[in-house]
């Protein structure tokens, strides 16, 4: 064995191999508080790395009394890191248990890297897409009725889950240690599946409730001998009896199709504005060119500046 190989192996092993239990529940709570600042120095080179090191630094200092070990450990923890900010405490709890047990550095790194990716994917689906949509959607429906319950409901429910998860996972991760990884992976799969079901049910409901597309199209004809003109509304007479909110559903599917085709949300925002303006100008143009009222004549006249 060459000295170089010998060095590489030694680099992965902590010099001080004593493993007294130094991490207390208080240390774990402190780590969870500091994890609130995981993304304070976010950047595209290492993403959350510096915030991650900031999170576990006090515990690392307690574990590694040997200065060389502390430098090695901190250096490894300043490598690229990116996961979901709510689930990070599970990984840091796990990592601290391994650091305390003086595991090999490359093992700790492997565990860190293999948990942060799925953590990000699951966290995005469960918290950003599901929890936030449900709390925001329900809260906003209260707010729109003028009820202050809206913001209160949102803030309380969201943060009950948020801080419960953050602090719960911190001690859970630490206690489970290395052996937990496999069983937890099975559970999160099932959890993500269950969360998707609730999430999509709610998004379906919101498509019907919050996307509004009322064509306003109608046919107005003066009828000889009658006092009232003949009015046929497209929405009331044709679309609504088939399926209420059919147009919003079709529009949402159209947007989904465009996103799948690679349109950026930004471009879709701009096109939505263009579409909205087109819809309001069209009746004005039709009135000027053909003299027909294809929407409510009262609305039309204010648009034309009468």
């Amino acid at each position: 064995m060459t000295t170089q190989q010998q060095d590489m192996i030694n680099n992965d092993v902590y010099e001080d191999q004593q493993t007294p239990q130094v991490i207390t529940p208080k240390d774990i709570r402190r780590m969870a508080w500091r994890s609130l600042f995981l993304q304070a120095s976010f950047n595209y080179e290492r993403m959350q790395a510096n915030g991650w090191l900031y999170t576990i630094m006090p515990a690392l200092r307690k574990i590694h009394k040997n200065e060389n070990d502390l430098k090695k450990s901190m250096g490894m923890h300043l490598e690229f890191f990116n996961t979901h900010p709510f689930l990070v405490t599970f990984i840091s709890g796990l990592v601290l248990a391994m650091e305390e047990a003086k595991e090999r550095i490359d093992t700790i790194r492997a565990i860190k890297v293999s948990t942060m990716g799925p953590g990000g994917g699951i966290g995005d689906a469960v918290f950003w897409l599901t929890l936030l949509s449900i709390c925001g959607g329900v809260g906003a429906s209260f707010s729109l009725n003028g009820s202050w319950l809206g913001p209160i409901f949102f803030l309380v429910l969201f943060n009950l889950v948020h801080f419960g998860i953050r602090f719960g996972l911190a001690s859970y991760g630490y206690k489970m240690g290395v052996s937990a990884i496999k069983t937890l992976k099975d559970q999160t799969r099932k959890l993500a599946h269950a969360a998707s079901i609730v999430g999509l049910t709610v998004i379906g409901a919101m498509t019907a409730s919050y996307v509004k597309l009322d064509s306003g199209l109608q046919l107005v004809r003066e009828v000889k001998g009658a006092d009232e003109p003949f009015v046929y509304t497209l929405q009331g007479s044709l679309i609504d009896p088939i399926m209420p909110a059919l147009l919003p559903l079709l529009w949402t599917m159209f947007i989904l199709w465009r996103i799948k085709k690679g349109s950026s949300p930004l471009r879709l925002v701009l096109w939505t504005v263009v579409f909205g303006l087109f819809c309001t100008v069209l009746p004005v143009v039709v009135k000027m060119v053909f003299g027909w009222d294809i929407i409510d004549p009262a609305v039309l006249s204010t648009r034309m500046g009468y």
Partner: protein
């Protein structure tokens, strides 16, 4: 438009300080006071019209539901979009759907600035490497605090300038805009939630979940049930899947999880 209220220096400063705190909250602490549903009423309180802020905030919340930072990608900035949009809705007497005309350009402008900020912070990682070699613990912590300070100043300055110096100009503009434009923006605004839902569906709507999307849609469209009730119905199905169908979900989500892992790392 005779009800227009002028924004005082103190009100603009108040909104600026809140914008700074909300800007930090977008990435740190994450209590989500930065979401429009909370920011709207708070900006409303500062500007003297909490009711309007409440409604405008809720409207922006629904429009921008899907705008979350997925896997580190920056969406248009909901923080300043929501705050500036609400402030303009209150000051100019517009609806939230109309104020989005003012809000969207700023949301995009801030998105670009944040991307720039995250790029500009990258070189500081070599400084962090040096701190580790010297065991400079305070240095590591200060890099974190510096990042938050920059965010606070950045958000405050933008919110203050737009609201204090821009409000008058915006009021003048609003009276010049013809009815068909504001009507058109109203139509566009009512359609905006579809974009948020589209983003969510693009990520979440796999074949095995289409039935649940339709379930939610039909309960709302034909039966007009409230959202919370529909969410609870969804929860019932989730519990059934979780507890009664042990093997099926494993099979159904196996592909999905593999993809997530690949994308995540």
């Amino acid at each position: 438009m005779e009800t227009l209220a002028d924004v005082t220096l103190w009100q603009a400063l108040g909104v600026a300080i809140f914008a700074g705190i909300a800007g930090i909250d977008l990435f740190n602490v994450l209590t989500h006071i930065h979401r429009p549903i909370i920011a709207g009423p708070i900006v409303g309180l500062i500007l003297g019209d909490p009711e309007k802020g409440l409604i405008a905030g809720a409207t922006f919340e629904l429009m921008w539901m899907g705008l979350v930072p997925l896997a580190g990608a920056q969406p248009p900035n909901v923080v300043l979009g929501g705050i500036i949009g609400t402030a303009f809705a209150i000051v100019t007497g517009q609806t939230a759907e109309q104020a989005i005309l003012v809000a969207v350009p700023f949301a995009i402008f801030v998105q670009i600035c944040i991307t720039f900020l995250f790029t500009a912070y990258s070189p500081l990682m070599s400084v962090a490497d040096r701190y580790v070699k010297n065991l400079n613990f305070a240095g590591i912590a200060n890099l974190n605090y510096l990042g938050m300070t920059i965010l606070f100043v950045f958000y405050s300055v933008i919110a203050f300038s737009v609201i204090y110096f821009g409000a008058d100009a915006a009021k003048q503009l609003v009276t010049l805009i013809p009815k068909w434009i504001t009507d058109g923006l109203q139509v566009a605004g009512s359609l905006m939630p579809a974009i948020g839902f589209g983003i969510l569906l693009n990520i979440m709507l796999q074949r095995q979940y289409i039935a649940y999307y339709l379930l939610g849609f039909l309960l709302a469209a034909y039966f007009q049930q409230p959202l919370l009730a529909i969410a609870l119905v969804g929860l019932v199905f989730a519990l059934i899947e979780y507890y009664l169908r042990d093997s099926a979900p494993e099979k159904a989500t196996a592909n999905n999880t593999v993809v997530e892992e690949e994308e995540g790392i």
